[in-house]
């Protein structure tokens, strides 16, 4: 289960809205207690995909490195990655799966017409061949 606190959630929605109709992306920092994760801070990042960003995103590893360093300095952990699907359901696409990392939660925000519609979270397996849905709790 992943629970996103309001402050982090608003940062994620604002980031997704401002990048619409392109995909946005970022990292989620928080705490882990067994299978329960709490997101306290969302770190918006630049979509580094070299091409049309309407349906693709890429995180720069350097940005994730900095986010990880930031988390450690605040006594938090990097717990997940978020990205948006403009005008599209919050499903975990094959491209998402194949370019994911099994260590983190992947939260997807469906943005329709620039507004938040729904969100889902996924946990990819070690070989990136399948992902299981993770319960998500958010303020909206």
């Amino acid at each position: 289960m992943i629970r996103i606190e309001r402050e982090a959630w608003e940062v994620m929605l604002s980031h997704a809205g401002s990048h619409y109709p392109n995909e946005c992306c970022g990292a989620m920092l928080g705490q882990v207690d067994g299978s329960r994760k709490t997101v306290r801070i969302a770190v918006p990042m630049e979509n580094a995909w070299q091409g049309e960003r309407h349906s693709r995103y890429e995180l720069r590893p350097q940005d994730l490195l900095r986010a990880d360093q930031e988390a450690r300095s605040q006594g938090l952990d990097l717990v997940g990655i978020f990205h948006s699907h403009p005008d599209c359901d919050a499903y975990f696409s094959k491209t998402d799966l194949e370019n994911s990392c099994p260590w983190y939660s992947f939260v997807i925000l469906s943005i329709r017409g620039g507004r938040f519609d729904h969100a889902n979270s996924f946990l990819p397996n070690a070989d990136q061949t399948a992902a299981e849905a993770e319960e998500i709790i958010h303020p909206d």
Binding site: W49, S55, R56, P61, D87, S93, N99, S100, C101, W103
Partner: protein, 471 residues
Amino acid sequence: MAKVLIPTPLRQYADKQDSVEIGGATVGEVLAGLTSRYPDLKRQLYSDEGKLRSFVNVYVNDDDIRYLSRDASPVQDGDTISIVPSVAGGNLSNEEILRYSRHLIMPEVGMEGQIRLKNARVLLVGTGGLGSPLGLYLAAAGVGHIGLVDFDVVDFTNLQRQILHGTKDVGRKKLDSAADRMLDINPHIEIIRHEVALTSENALDILKDYEIVVDGTDNFPTRYLVNDACVLLGKPNVYGSIFRFEGQATVFAYPGGPCYRCLYPEPPPPGLVPSCAEGGVLGILPGVIGVVQATETVKLILGKGEPLVGRLMLYDALAMRFRELKLRRNPECPVCGEHPTVRQLIDYHQFCGVPQHEPPPPAGLTEWEVDPLEVKSKMDRGDRFVLIDVREPHEFQICRIPGSRLIPLGELVKRLSELDSAEDIVAHCKSGMRSGKAVDFLRQAGFRKVKNMKGGILAWSDKVDPRVPKY
């Protein structure tokens, strides 16, 4: 000793520690030390083949080891090693999924293939006969980024085969007309317009941004230019050509395959091979050849099937037969061979013996020319003269000047006895080129009172009688 920071999800495999001190002179040694101390970490970081998993990036302090010496990157005491995932993703919108559903349900395409199509960058050189079916089908197939090179405008003679353009587009730039039509078919794609003639100066710069180049040109200098640029940049050149009722298609400059120069090391002598404007073309023919090119382009993007490499497909519309010739890479090829002599783009107009710009016709009339208005005056005055039309019989059926006599240029030699050198003779054709040759021939045969009607029947239509159609 270096400090290895353990990402939160991996701490369960490392005694719940958030960092570990490990000795080693290189990144490879440190990671080997780490996975030997905590064997459960190995499966998280390495594939069964013993390679770092695709999503694992390793940093020494702030430097990615991919840009250092990878596993051999040196590590010093006090360095911090971080393990950072690489993450990306992508999707198709629901509207696109619906649009491409007939593709998506075929395993050879599927979501993965459709996303490949969406991310592909293809350059179409020319938006004419071949470029039309190419543009329509590649747009419909969802090729995400299509560059178009053309600087021409639509005219009425294009509409018999260039189905990207419509009657309402006559007079518009072909680029605008093509882009409008393609975006109407598929608004999810990007059209990049290059309103230039492709030259040795700009070709590499334009082609470098694309993965596949499709040759829809109609002249030899550009064909050699596209070929050489593709070979130099290592990009496949999906080739097609058409003439009258016959066409050819193949894929040149594919890794290991032949290039256009392997097939045709030298261009034909200038003027030997007529263009479609001179020789005509069945309007449907570029449809067949352009669709073959579009199919090969999509196959190359998907990485499926057997590409048309090392095989020249020949199509004969009159016989309705497809044939195939084997092509081999020529090890002596000056551009793609083992010891290439062409290492940069050359002057292709000079190479093909074609002037870059036709010299402007001399102003006024020479002594062997006559203006159509003067010919009309001679008719009105009732002057005695013979008006010969040296065009082909099927052109004579399209339109003719009253009182003209048809002697096609090719028959002039054997029908010379039909003409009397004592009489005034005016020769004409469509534009004045062929009748100029006829006048030259007649002069050499001793005729002195022979003139060429300047501008041909096209000028007659403009200056004398607009009821005579232009073609």
